[in-house]
Every structure is written in C-alpha cells, then in structure tokens.
Amino acid sequence: MRTAVEAMGVWKRFRWREDRPRNLKESILGLSRRRNGGQEFWGLRDINISVAQGETLGLIGNNGSGKTTTLKLISGLMVPTRGSIRTADRVSTMLELGIGFQADFTGRENVYTGGIIAGLTRKEIHEAFPKIVEFAELEQHIDCPVRTYSTGMYMRLAFSLAIHIDAPILLIDEALAVGDRSFQSKCVDRLFQIKNEGTTILLVSHELKMIESLCDRVCWLENGRVRQIGDVGEIVAAYSSQERGAGGAPIGAQARSANRGQRKLVMGESRWGSLEVQIEAVKLRDESGIEKDTFEAGCRMSIDIKYRRYSAVREAIFQVGFSQENGVKCLDVNTWADGIPFRELDDRGCISLSIDHLHLSEGIYTIDVGVYSTDWAEIYDYHWRAYSFEVFSRSRHEWIKRAT
C-alpha cells in the first residue's frame, strides 16, 4: 500500500505571549528579557501517523488535544519543531468554510477566489463550477453579492465549494458540523463519493457517528500524544466512555452529556407528589449490571428504582416512561397495566424494569418515573424527565441511510 501522509516523530512547541505585537524598541531593549519570558508548551509530542493512499483517518480527542495542530502541520501551515512530515501528493485543507470570501463580491467571484486560495487552478474551478452551484442550490443567486445571502445560503455555497475541491489528499476540520440535516447528509454522501474516488482523507470531528461511518481507522489524541490508533469501533467506544467519565469532555459533548444522567429535581417543575413514598434513585444498567447512560440499540437494559416509604402506604403502582428529545413518548409502562400483582412495600426497597432488547433508534431519551396510589388517585412521587440515556447503533452506515 502506498503511503500518502507520513508524520514521523513530530513534536510541536508553542509559546504563550502576554502581548503579541511587539515594536522595534522593545525587541532591541528587551532581548534578554524576552529570552526567558514567554511560557512554552508542547502542543504535540512524538506523533507518528502513517496514512495509506485512499484511506480515511479520523482524528478524535478533546479540545486542545492537538487535532487541528496535526492538520495544520500536515497541510504545511505550520512546521514541526522536531520530526518530519511528508505528503505524497497535493494536499487541500478545509480548516474553515468560506476562506477568502468577500461580502461585496458575488457568489461567482467568491467561488473562484475561494477555489484558487484552496489550491485549484482557474480551469479546475471552471469545470467544477456548475456542480458547485447546483449542489449549493444557488442557481438563481450566484451573481448576487454574498452580503445579500442568508446565512444558510452563504454556508451552502461555502460547503459546496469546500466539498468540490478535489485534491489527492484532503484535510477536513469540523467543517461539516453546521448546516441543516438534509444538507448535512448531502455533504456526507459527497464525502463518501470523494472517499470512493480514492482520495486520502484526514477528518477531525466531534461527530463520532460521522467518524464511525466514514473512517477506516481512527487516531485518538490526548494532550498532544497519540493515545490509540486503529480500529474505529473500539476506539470510538473507548473514547466516548472516557469522555463521559472524566471532566475533560469536549464542549460539544459536554453540552450533550448535560442532558444525560440525572437532572436536578425541583418540586413543581420536575417533581410532583405527596412524597409519602419517595423515589430515591434511578439507575440504568446494562446486561452485566454495570451502571451506564449509553446503550447500544437492541441490547438489554434494566432500570432500577430505589424507593423509600415515609408513611403507612402499603401498596403502590410504579410507572416508567421514555420520551424522545422532542417530547414524543415512546414507552409508557406501569405495574398496574401489566397486571403485576401489588406487593407490600418495604421501608426501603428496589423495583426493577428489564428491557430485553432496547430497540430504539439512535438518540437521546429522557425517563419519567412515578409512584402512584393503587387507584391512581394520588401521586406519591413523580420525576418528570429527570433521567436520560443515549442509544447508539453499531451498524456503521445505518444513520446515513435513514437520513437520506
């Protein structure tokens, strides 16, 4: 297999400076001061990556782990402090969308400028131009200044240009994180097409689903080092479980994981009831009894509800409901409807709901749990959307098929 990109023992040092722009006087007078001033840190330490031609390598890791720096070094935007980088062919980089765009210029002018800045010749842009416009769905407005475009139109044009830059080696940094659903899936389709044409792709993304569906291998960076490189499923699973574990989750994932786990209960907002019987804890477990908040579709899940009795209540109905993020209920079960005989409550006890096959589509779900009197007349305790979990699917391309 031919190697397309090779990074050998790459180290990159950065320097923090309090005040960047200096003037001549300072640098003449302050030579000695500057030499020991300025904090240094290693952004990358001993990176060894080799990407075969036609391969798609995903780069994952927390913010600040060195993903973008790696791309910048490979693209030649920066030079390594130590080590060497070789690329077998022309490299095109998409670090951001719409680089070189000018608000006053028309869509057409911007496509040409943006394309040339990205490394295409005029002729190549000329050939790709109709496809770019068609893909962006901007046939009507291509000769209007882009300042008259809506944000959506602007992004579509920038996306479309970015995704039509055909270079043998393509570096993409988070470029596809924006845009509406249907356009995003169009972009992913196009990326598959580029990939199938034999382009070598290095993709940085926090979208683990996209990494899983597109990449042949994954490289997990942590604090500027390669933590793991290899099998996609394995590394993504390890990364996503760690991401939730430690506090160092990336911003995007943090926002998402804020939805998972347990929410603070506030009476009258997310909690109702007389509290004669209280739900003390709700735990989600997988088939081996390990507490989790991410489950694979089709796997087993059990929900343990720990309760405590504060009054003479002897029997109660327990209820569990799942809702999608948009509030649509997709499960609502209770002990009464399922004909489970009442059992005398303990002072402290636990009741468990087992789901043998969690056949839910991918996404985040919230859980409601409730304890009611046997005639439904009274709510003892009800937690509304207080818990949540995420379902993922291991079958690689499934989500794409669904999106299109």
């Binding site: 031919r2 190697t3 950065f14 960047r20 722009p21 200096r22 003037n23 001549l24 006087k25 640098s27 910048k72 693209s75 030649g76 935007l77 920066m78 030079v79 070789r86 077998a88 062919d89 022309r90 490299v91 980089t93 670090l95 951001e96 680089i99 070189g100 000018q102 006053d104 210029f105 002018e109 040409y112 400028t113 040339i116 800045i117 990205a118 490394g119 295409l120 010749t121 005029r122």
Partner: protein
C-alpha cells in the same frame, strides 16, 4: 533498502508532476489576487480606477505650479518631466505601502489557507503596475501636447519597468515580512519613503544637485531608474549600458534576498499573526 528508495522515487515523481501544475496555479492565483485587489479598492466608488490617477494628478498640479511659478527650477517641458518621475515613484511607494500591510490585512488567509503567500506581494506590486500603465497613457498625452516624439529608445521601457518591478518586489517582501514581527515597520516605512522621495530626483533634475552630494544619488537605485524613464521617454536617449547592467544586477539581488528571507520566515506567519 529497495522499498525505501522506490518510495523516494515515487515521492520525487509526484513532486515533479505537481511542479508543472504549480506554475499554472501561481499565475492563476496572481491574476485572481490582482483582480481582487482592484475590485476591493474601487468597489462602490463612482470614479473607480480614476481615483488612482487623481492623487498623482493633484501632486503634479501643485508641483508644476510651485516649480514653474513660485520657485523656478528652470527645467524645459517641466510637466512631462514631472509626470515621468511622479508616476514611477508612485508605483514604488504605493506598492511598498500596500505590501507592508498586506499580510496583516489578509491574516485570515495566511492563518487558515495554504497558498504561496509571497503572491500577495506580487499582487500588490502588479496591481499598482496596472495603475502605472494607465498613468503612462496620460503621460503619452502630455508628450503629444508638448510636442515630444517618442524615439526607438522607448523600446527600453519594458526593461526599466522590469528592473523597478523586481527591485520593488524584493523590498516589498522584506518589508512585509518584517512588519509581521515588528508592527511599527509600517510607520517607519512612511518616514523612510518621505525622505527617500526628496532624495530622489522626482520633481527636480539630478544635474542641479551640487557635486558634493552626488555620492548619495549614485547609491540610490530609484534615482537611476527615474533618470532612465526620462532618458527613454523624454530625451530619446539610450540608457547607459554599464549602469543598466548594474541596476539589473542590484534589483535581482534585492529580489533574491527578499524571496529568501520571506520564504525562511513564512512558515512562522500562521503562528505569529
């Protein structure tokens, strides 16, 4: 061993194939950047490109009044003489001023896109050359009005333009590179250009300079370049061959030096800007 050397050859082969494409690409890049420069400069203004001529025109009007009426310099055909000096000087000074700010102005491009950034300087010098070309048409009109006919010596004009082009570009590369690291270079440049303007025979004749100061002029390439413009356009004189060769040599050295230092430092621009 064999595996390594085949890989090396393949690497070299792709490089070579890409180099051909690269020349093509650089030309496209340059023309696009020049067009972008021009469009950005005059977008929305009514007079457009004419503005670039109005500034030298005002200078010419004031100076020709000053030096034909107030302080008489006693130079025949003073207006064409002045125009032939002001236009090249304007090209030189505006290019440098443009270039010094060019990397900062295009910071987003430098930081996020991979392209030969020296092309920004080439574009700065070239777009100002287009303005010079336009101005030359005006100069020709002056020549016709003043009854000066062009002689075959005017065929030297492209060589002189080329000398000035590479001299200016070389300086532009140095100045723009320095300005990334020391932001006050731009202000220093303003002062330097002001002094340089008066020490170059733009609005006066070098012959009027006392002999004691001739050394100052011998070392000033812009003085020779402007004298050459006048020689070939106004006086129909063929430029002094030795001096021409020396100028070609100096401008080539300046350009080579500029390119070298620029390329040595440009990998740091993305971090520094």
């Amino acid at each position: 061993m064999t595996a390594i050397s085949t890989a090396e050859t393949r690497w070299a082969a792709t490089r070579k194939a890409n180099r051909l494409r690269s020349i093509h690409y650089q030309l496209d890049l340059m023309s696009n950047l020049v067009a972008r420069d021009m469009k950005l400069r005059y977008k929305g203004s009514v007079l457009g490109l004419l503005w670039s001529l109005l500034q030298p025109a005002a200078l010419i009007a004031v100076y020709s009044f000053l030096f034909t009426r107030v302080i008489t310099l006693d130079i025949p055909n003073y207006v064409p003489f002045l125009v032939a000096g002001v236009l090249p000087w304007n090209w030189f000074a505006t290019s440098l001023d443009f270039a010094s700010d060019s990397l900062l102005a295009n910071r987003e491009l430098i930081k996020k896109a991979v392209f030969p950034s020296e092309m920004l300087m080439v574009a700065a010098v070239t777009s100002n050359l287009l303005i010079l070309a336009l101005g030359t048409l005006v100069l020709l009109a002056f020549l016709v009005v003043s009854g000066i006919a062009l002689t075959p010596a005017a065929l030297f004009l492209p060589i002189i333009v080329a000398i000035q082009y590479s001299f200016t570009l070389g300086l532009a590369l140095i100045v723009s590179m320095l300005n990334v690291y020391f932001r006050d270079i731009r202000h220093l440049l303003g002062v330097a250009l002001f002094a340089w303007f008066f020490l170059t025979p733009v609005f006066y004749d070098e012959a009027q300079v006392p002999a004691a100061y001739h050394g100052l002029y011998v070392l000033n390439p812009m003085a020779h370049i402007i004298n050459f413009y006048r020689d070939v356009l106004l006086f129909g004189r063929i430029p002094n061959g030795l001096l021409l060769l020396q100028l070609i040599f100096v401008s080539a050295i300046v350009l080579g030096f500029g390119l070298t230092v620029f390329r040595q430092h440009k990998s740091g621009f993305a971090e520094e800007l």
